[in-house]
Symmetry: C2
Subunit: 194 residues, 2 copies
Protein backbone atom coordinates (compact mmCIF):
# COMPACT_ATOMS: atom_id res chain seq x y z
CA UNK A 1 0.00 0.00 0.00
CA UNK A 2 2.65 2.53 1.02
CA UNK A 3 5.31 3.63 -1.42
CA UNK A 4 8.17 4.59 0.88
CA UNK A 5 10.73 2.69 -1.19
CA UNK A 6 10.85 5.64 -3.55
CA UNK A 7 12.47 7.87 -0.92
CA UNK A 8 16.17 6.96 -0.98
CA UNK A 9 17.55 10.05 0.81
CA UNK A 10 16.09 9.09 4.19
CA UNK A 11 16.44 5.31 4.02
CA UNK A 12 18.92 5.08 6.90
CA UNK A 13 16.62 7.11 9.17
CA UNK A 14 13.74 4.83 8.25
CA UNK A 15 15.90 1.79 9.09
CA UNK A 16 16.78 3.20 12.49
CA UNK A 17 13.13 3.68 13.26
CA UNK A 18 12.15 0.22 12.04
CA UNK A 19 13.64 -1.21 15.26
CA UNK A 20 10.70 0.07 17.28
CA UNK A 21 8.12 -0.76 14.62
CA UNK A 22 7.34 2.78 13.63
CA UNK A 23 5.24 3.17 10.49
CA UNK A 24 7.25 3.82 7.34
CA UNK A 25 5.20 6.81 6.31
CA UNK A 26 5.59 9.60 8.84
CA UNK A 27 2.15 11.09 9.36
CA UNK A 28 -0.15 8.70 7.53
CA UNK A 29 -3.26 7.57 9.40
CA UNK A 30 -2.27 9.44 12.57
CA UNK A 31 -2.42 12.68 10.62
CA UNK A 32 -5.82 11.62 9.27
CA UNK A 33 -7.08 10.98 12.80
CA UNK A 34 -5.74 14.37 13.91
CA UNK A 35 -7.52 16.16 11.06
CA UNK A 36 -10.75 14.28 11.78
CA UNK A 37 -10.35 15.24 15.45
CA UNK A 38 -10.03 18.89 14.49
CA UNK A 39 -13.24 18.74 12.42
CA UNK A 40 -15.07 16.90 15.21
CA UNK A 41 -13.94 19.59 17.64
CA UNK A 42 -15.48 22.27 15.43
CA UNK A 43 -18.74 20.31 15.48
CA UNK A 44 -18.57 19.92 19.25
CA UNK A 45 -18.01 23.68 19.65
CA UNK A 46 -21.19 24.35 17.66
CA UNK A 47 -23.13 21.75 19.68
CA UNK A 48 -21.91 22.97 23.09
CA UNK A 49 -22.33 26.68 22.46
CA UNK A 50 -25.62 26.04 20.69
CA UNK A 51 -26.86 24.10 23.70
CA UNK A 52 -25.80 26.88 26.08
CA UNK A 53 -27.41 29.57 23.93
CA UNK A 54 -30.64 27.63 23.38
CA UNK A 55 -31.02 26.93 27.08
CA UNK A 56 -29.96 30.46 28.04
CA UNK A 57 -32.62 32.09 25.88
CA UNK A 58 -35.44 29.77 26.95
CA UNK A 59 -38.06 32.02 28.47
CA UNK A 60 -41.81 31.84 28.16
CA UNK A 61 -44.42 34.06 29.72
CA UNK A 62 -47.98 32.88 29.59
CA UNK A 63 -50.48 35.31 28.02
CA UNK A 64 -52.70 35.34 31.11
CA UNK A 65 -51.91 36.58 34.61
CA UNK A 66 -53.60 37.00 37.93
CA UNK A 67 -53.66 40.05 40.14
CA UNK A 68 -50.56 38.95 41.99
CA UNK A 69 -48.20 37.36 39.54
CA UNK A 70 -47.55 36.39 35.97
CA UNK A 71 -46.81 32.83 34.96
CA UNK A 72 -43.33 32.70 33.59
CA UNK A 73 -40.83 29.92 32.99
CA UNK A 74 -37.20 30.51 32.12
CA UNK A 75 -33.98 28.60 32.59
CA UNK A 76 -33.49 30.73 35.72
CA UNK A 77 -36.31 28.83 37.37
CA UNK A 78 -34.30 25.64 37.60
CA UNK A 79 -30.91 25.39 39.27
CA UNK A 80 -30.14 22.45 37.01
CA UNK A 81 -30.69 24.56 33.90
CA UNK A 82 -28.47 27.34 35.26
CA UNK A 83 -25.79 24.70 35.85
CA UNK A 84 -26.37 23.50 32.30
CA UNK A 85 -25.83 26.94 30.75
CA UNK A 86 -22.65 27.59 32.74
CA UNK A 87 -21.20 24.13 32.08
CA UNK A 88 -21.94 24.04 28.37
CA UNK A 89 -20.41 27.51 27.98
CA UNK A 90 -17.32 26.27 29.83
CA UNK A 91 -17.15 23.17 27.62
CA UNK A 92 -17.47 25.34 24.51
CA UNK A 93 -14.72 27.64 25.78
CA UNK A 94 -12.44 24.69 26.49
CA UNK A 95 -13.06 23.29 23.02
CA UNK A 96 -12.12 26.61 21.41
CA UNK A 97 -8.93 26.75 23.48
CA UNK A 98 -8.13 23.13 22.57
CA UNK A 99 -8.07 23.90 18.83
CA UNK A 100 -4.40 25.05 18.81
CA UNK A 101 -3.34 21.77 20.45
CA UNK A 102 -5.40 19.89 17.90
CA UNK A 103 -3.53 21.76 15.15
CA UNK A 104 -0.19 20.83 16.75
CA UNK A 105 -1.36 17.18 16.68
CA UNK A 106 -1.99 17.56 12.93
CA UNK A 107 1.41 19.13 12.26
CA UNK A 108 3.29 16.63 14.44
CA UNK A 109 1.24 13.42 14.24
CA UNK A 110 3.79 11.34 16.18
CA UNK A 111 4.19 13.65 19.19
CA UNK A 112 2.47 12.08 22.20
CA UNK A 113 2.45 15.30 24.26
CA UNK A 114 -0.44 17.22 22.68
CA UNK A 115 -2.56 14.06 22.36
CA UNK A 116 -1.95 13.17 25.99
CA UNK A 117 -2.84 16.69 27.08
CA UNK A 118 -6.02 16.63 24.99
CA UNK A 119 -7.17 13.15 26.06
CA UNK A 120 -6.88 14.01 29.76
CA UNK A 121 -8.72 17.33 29.48
CA UNK A 122 -11.26 15.79 27.08
CA UNK A 123 -12.07 13.18 29.73
CA UNK A 124 -12.65 15.86 32.37
CA UNK A 125 -14.87 17.94 30.09
CA UNK A 126 -16.70 14.84 28.85
CA UNK A 127 -17.68 14.23 32.46
CA UNK A 128 -18.78 17.84 32.86
CA UNK A 129 -20.82 17.84 29.64
CA UNK A 130 -22.43 14.49 30.44
CA UNK A 131 -23.34 15.56 33.96
CA UNK A 132 -25.02 18.78 32.83
CA UNK A 133 -26.75 17.14 29.87
CA UNK A 134 -28.08 14.22 31.91
CA UNK A 135 -29.29 16.32 34.83
CA UNK A 136 -31.06 18.72 32.46
CA UNK A 137 -32.58 15.71 30.70
CA UNK A 138 -33.96 14.46 34.03
CA UNK A 139 -35.68 17.81 34.62
CA UNK A 140 -36.97 18.02 31.02
CA UNK A 141 -38.36 14.51 31.42
CA UNK A 142 -40.15 15.60 34.62
CA UNK A 143 -41.48 18.72 32.91
CA UNK A 144 -42.92 16.56 30.14
CA UNK A 145 -44.31 13.70 32.20
CA UNK A 146 -44.53 14.91 35.77
CA UNK A 147 -44.38 12.44 38.64
CA UNK A 148 -47.47 11.13 40.32
CA UNK A 149 -46.03 9.78 43.53
CA UNK A 150 -44.46 13.08 44.51
CA UNK A 151 -47.37 15.09 43.03
CA UNK A 152 -45.18 16.98 40.58
CA UNK A 153 -47.38 17.94 37.64
CA UNK A 154 -46.16 18.17 34.06
CA UNK A 155 -45.72 21.80 33.06
CA UNK A 156 -45.24 21.28 29.32
CA UNK A 157 -48.95 21.62 28.68
CA UNK A 158 -48.71 25.25 29.69
CA UNK A 159 -45.12 25.99 28.80
CA UNK A 160 -44.86 24.22 25.45
CA UNK A 161 -42.28 26.53 23.87
CA UNK A 162 -40.12 26.46 26.98
CA UNK A 163 -40.14 22.65 26.96
CA UNK A 164 -39.32 22.46 23.26
CA UNK A 165 -36.39 24.81 23.67
CA UNK A 166 -34.90 23.07 26.72
CA UNK A 167 -35.35 19.67 25.04
CA UNK A 168 -33.44 20.93 22.00
CA UNK A 169 -30.64 22.16 24.26
CA UNK A 170 -30.41 18.74 25.92
CA UNK A 171 -30.23 16.96 22.56
CA UNK A 172 -27.50 19.37 21.44
CA UNK A 173 -25.49 18.68 24.60
CA UNK A 174 -25.74 14.92 23.95
CA UNK A 175 -24.29 15.52 20.48
CA UNK A 176 -21.32 17.19 22.19
CA UNK A 177 -21.01 14.19 24.54
CA UNK A 178 -20.93 11.71 21.65
CA UNK A 179 -18.27 13.79 19.88
CA UNK A 180 -16.19 13.81 23.09
CA UNK A 181 -16.36 10.01 23.33
CA UNK A 182 -15.27 9.73 19.68
CA UNK A 183 -12.40 12.17 20.27
CA UNK A 184 -11.14 10.21 23.29
CA UNK A 185 -11.38 6.86 21.48
CA UNK A 186 -9.52 8.29 18.48
CA UNK A 187 -6.81 9.84 20.66
CA UNK A 188 -6.41 6.56 22.53
CA UNK A 189 -6.03 4.62 19.27
CA UNK A 190 -3.44 7.10 18.01
CA UNK A 191 -1.56 6.91 21.32
CA UNK A 192 -1.70 3.14 21.60
CA UNK A 193 -0.73 2.03 18.09
CA UNK A 194 2.86 3.12 17.57
CA UNK B 1 19.09 13.51 33.63
CA UNK B 2 19.08 9.87 32.45
CA UNK B 3 22.06 7.66 33.22
CA UNK B 4 22.15 5.37 30.22
CA UNK B 5 25.95 5.54 29.99
CA UNK B 6 26.26 3.26 33.06
CA UNK B 7 24.77 0.23 31.29
CA UNK B 8 27.55 -1.25 29.19
CA UNK B 9 26.12 -4.72 28.52
CA UNK B 10 23.16 -3.38 26.57
CA UNK B 11 24.62 -0.13 25.36
CA UNK B 12 23.87 -0.78 21.71
CA UNK B 13 20.27 -1.67 22.47
CA UNK B 14 20.02 1.34 24.74
CA UNK B 15 21.38 3.53 22.00
CA UNK B 16 18.82 2.23 19.55
CA UNK B 17 16.06 2.87 22.03
CA UNK B 18 17.40 6.22 23.17
CA UNK B 19 16.24 7.66 19.86
CA UNK B 20 12.65 7.41 20.97
CA UNK B 21 13.35 8.00 24.67
CA UNK B 22 12.14 4.61 25.94
CA UNK B 23 12.48 3.95 29.70
CA UNK B 24 15.48 1.84 30.67
CA UNK B 25 13.61 -0.44 33.09
CA UNK B 26 11.04 -2.61 31.38
CA UNK B 27 7.97 -2.76 33.56
CA UNK B 28 8.79 -0.19 36.22
CA UNK B 29 6.27 2.61 36.64
CA UNK B 30 3.92 1.13 34.04
CA UNK B 31 3.53 -1.96 36.21
CA UNK B 32 2.89 0.32 39.19
CA UNK B 33 0.18 2.15 37.26
CA UNK B 34 -1.38 -1.16 36.25
CA UNK B 35 -1.45 -2.39 39.86
CA UNK B 36 -2.92 0.91 41.04
CA UNK B 37 -5.51 0.62 38.27
CA UNK B 38 -6.49 -2.84 39.50
CA UNK B 39 -6.96 -1.57 43.07
CA UNK B 40 -8.96 1.44 41.83
CA UNK B 41 -11.16 -0.92 39.85
CA UNK B 42 -11.94 -2.89 43.00
CA UNK B 43 -12.94 0.37 44.70
CA UNK B 44 -15.10 1.37 41.73
CA UNK B 45 -16.87 -2.02 41.82
CA UNK B 46 -17.76 -1.45 45.46
CA UNK B 47 -18.95 2.10 44.73
CA UNK B 48 -21.03 1.16 41.67
CA UNK B 49 -22.68 -1.94 43.13
CA UNK B 50 -23.15 -0.13 46.44
CA UNK B 51 -24.89 2.73 44.63
CA UNK B 52 -27.16 0.32 42.74
CA UNK B 53 -28.02 -1.62 45.91
CA UNK B 54 -28.62 1.51 48.00
CA UNK B 55 -30.89 3.02 45.38
CA UNK B 56 -32.62 -0.31 44.69
CA UNK B 57 -33.56 -0.82 48.32
CA UNK B 58 -34.80 2.74 48.90
CA UNK B 59 -38.41 2.40 49.91
CA UNK B 60 -40.32 4.32 52.53
CA UNK B 61 -43.96 4.03 53.50
CA UNK B 62 -45.40 6.75 55.68
CA UNK B 63 -47.05 5.58 58.90
CA UNK B 64 -50.39 7.24 58.07
CA UNK B 65 -52.77 6.46 55.24
CA UNK B 66 -56.13 7.55 53.94
CA UNK B 67 -59.05 5.40 52.96
CA UNK B 68 -57.89 5.22 49.36
CA UNK B 69 -54.13 4.97 49.32
CA UNK B 70 -50.97 4.77 51.34
CA UNK B 71 -48.17 7.26 50.94
CA UNK B 72 -45.14 5.40 49.67
CA UNK B 73 -41.94 6.44 47.95
CA UNK B 74 -39.52 4.00 46.38
CA UNK B 75 -37.02 4.14 43.56
CA UNK B 76 -39.80 2.72 41.37
CA UNK B 77 -41.59 6.04 41.61
CA UNK B 78 -39.00 7.83 39.50
CA UNK B 79 -37.97 6.70 36.05
CA UNK B 80 -34.62 8.37 36.61
CA UNK B 81 -33.97 6.22 39.68
CA UNK B 82 -34.90 3.04 37.79
CA UNK B 83 -32.42 4.09 35.10
CA UNK B 84 -29.87 4.71 37.86
CA UNK B 85 -30.23 1.20 39.33
CA UNK B 86 -29.96 -0.50 35.93
CA UNK B 87 -27.00 1.60 34.80
CA UNK B 88 -24.99 1.30 37.99
CA UNK B 89 -25.53 -2.48 37.98
CA UNK B 90 -24.31 -2.55 34.37
CA UNK B 91 -21.27 -0.44 35.28
CA UNK B 92 -20.49 -2.74 38.21
CA UNK B 93 -20.82 -5.78 35.95
CA UNK B 94 -18.50 -4.26 33.36
CA UNK B 95 -15.94 -3.44 36.06
CA UNK B 96 -15.96 -7.05 37.29
CA UNK B 97 -15.48 -8.31 33.72
CA UNK B 98 -12.67 -5.79 33.18
CA UNK B 99 -10.58 -7.20 36.04
CA UNK B 100 -8.96 -9.97 33.92
CA UNK B 101 -7.82 -7.37 31.37
CA UNK B 102 -6.47 -5.27 34.21
CA UNK B 103 -4.46 -8.30 35.39
CA UNK B 104 -3.10 -8.79 31.86
CA UNK B 105 -1.98 -5.15 31.93
CA UNK B 106 -0.09 -5.89 35.18
CA UNK B 107 1.60 -9.01 33.77
CA UNK B 108 2.50 -7.36 30.46
CA UNK B 109 2.95 -3.67 31.31
CA UNK B 110 4.19 -2.72 27.82
CA UNK B 111 1.39 -4.33 25.82
CA UNK B 112 -0.81 -1.58 24.40
CA UNK B 113 -3.71 -3.90 23.52
CA UNK B 114 -5.34 -4.44 26.93
CA UNK B 115 -4.84 -0.79 27.91
CA UNK B 116 -6.40 0.38 24.66
CA UNK B 117 -9.33 -1.98 25.15
CA UNK B 118 -9.82 -0.79 28.73
CA UNK B 119 -9.50 2.94 28.00
CA UNK B 120 -12.15 2.79 25.26
CA UNK B 121 -14.66 0.81 27.30
CA UNK B 122 -13.85 2.88 30.41
CA UNK B 123 -14.78 6.02 28.46
CA UNK B 124 -18.13 4.54 27.43
CA UNK B 125 -18.98 3.40 30.96
CA UNK B 126 -17.73 6.68 32.44
CA UNK B 127 -20.35 8.40 30.29
CA UNK B 128 -23.01 5.93 31.42
CA UNK B 129 -22.13 6.29 35.11
CA UNK B 130 -21.96 10.08 34.92
CA UNK B 131 -25.29 10.32 33.11
CA UNK B 132 -27.11 8.17 35.66
CA UNK B 133 -25.42 9.81 38.65
CA UNK B 134 -26.10 13.35 37.42
CA UNK B 135 -29.71 12.73 36.46
CA UNK B 136 -30.40 11.08 39.82
CA UNK B 137 -28.67 14.04 41.50
CA UNK B 138 -31.03 16.43 39.71
CA UNK B 139 -34.05 14.53 41.04
CA UNK B 140 -32.59 14.27 44.55
CA UNK B 141 -31.97 18.04 44.47
CA UNK B 142 -35.60 18.62 43.49
CA UNK B 143 -36.80 16.27 46.23
CA UNK B 144 -34.79 18.24 48.76
CA UNK B 145 -35.56 21.77 47.58
CA UNK B 146 -38.58 21.56 45.33
CA UNK B 147 -39.15 24.17 42.63
CA UNK B 148 -41.41 27.13 43.12
CA UNK B 149 -41.98 28.21 39.54
CA UNK B 150 -43.30 24.83 38.49
CA UNK B 151 -45.03 24.25 41.83
CA UNK B 152 -43.09 21.08 42.62
CA UNK B 153 -42.94 20.76 46.39
CA UNK B 154 -40.02 19.26 48.29
CA UNK B 155 -40.88 15.75 49.46
CA UNK B 156 -37.94 15.21 51.78
CA UNK B 157 -39.86 16.60 54.74
CA UNK B 158 -42.15 13.58 54.56
CA UNK B 159 -39.82 11.02 53.02
CA UNK B 160 -36.65 11.74 54.99
CA UNK B 161 -35.24 8.20 54.93
CA UNK B 162 -35.96 7.83 51.24
CA UNK B 163 -34.11 11.07 50.50
CA UNK B 164 -31.14 10.11 52.67
CA UNK B 165 -30.81 6.76 50.94
CA UNK B 166 -31.07 8.12 47.41
CA UNK B 167 -28.58 10.89 48.24
CA UNK B 168 -26.12 8.28 49.50
CA UNK B 169 -26.53 6.32 46.28
CA UNK B 170 -25.81 9.44 44.21
CA UNK B 171 -22.66 10.20 46.23
CA UNK B 172 -21.50 6.61 45.77
CA UNK B 173 -22.03 6.85 42.01
CA UNK B 174 -19.92 10.02 41.91
CA UNK B 175 -17.12 8.12 43.65
CA UNK B 176 -17.29 5.60 40.79
CA UNK B 177 -17.17 8.46 38.27
CA UNK B 178 -14.06 9.96 39.87
CA UNK B 179 -12.36 6.55 39.83
CA UNK B 180 -13.22 6.15 36.14
CA UNK B 181 -11.64 9.52 35.32
CA UNK B 182 -8.50 8.51 37.25
CA UNK B 183 -8.36 5.15 35.44
CA UNK B 184 -8.62 6.81 32.02
CA UNK B 185 -5.97 9.42 32.85
CA UNK B 186 -3.61 6.71 34.14
CA UNK B 187 -4.18 4.51 31.09
CA UNK B 188 -3.58 7.49 28.78
CA UNK B 189 -0.31 8.30 30.56
CA UNK B 190 0.84 4.68 30.31
CA UNK B 191 -0.10 4.59 26.61
CA UNK B 192 1.44 7.92 25.74
CA UNK B 193 4.83 7.72 27.45
CA UNK B 194 6.79 4.97 25.72
Amino acid sequence: MSTTIDVPESSNVAKGKAVIGAPQRPGGWKKGIAIMGFILRLGAIAAALGAAATMGTSDQTLPFFTQFFQFEASYDSFTTFQFFVITMALVGGYLVLSLPFSIVAIIRPHAAGPRLFLIILDTVFLTLATASGASAAAIVYLAHNGNQDSNWLAICNQFGDFCAQTSAAVVSSFVAVVVFVLLIVMSALALGKH
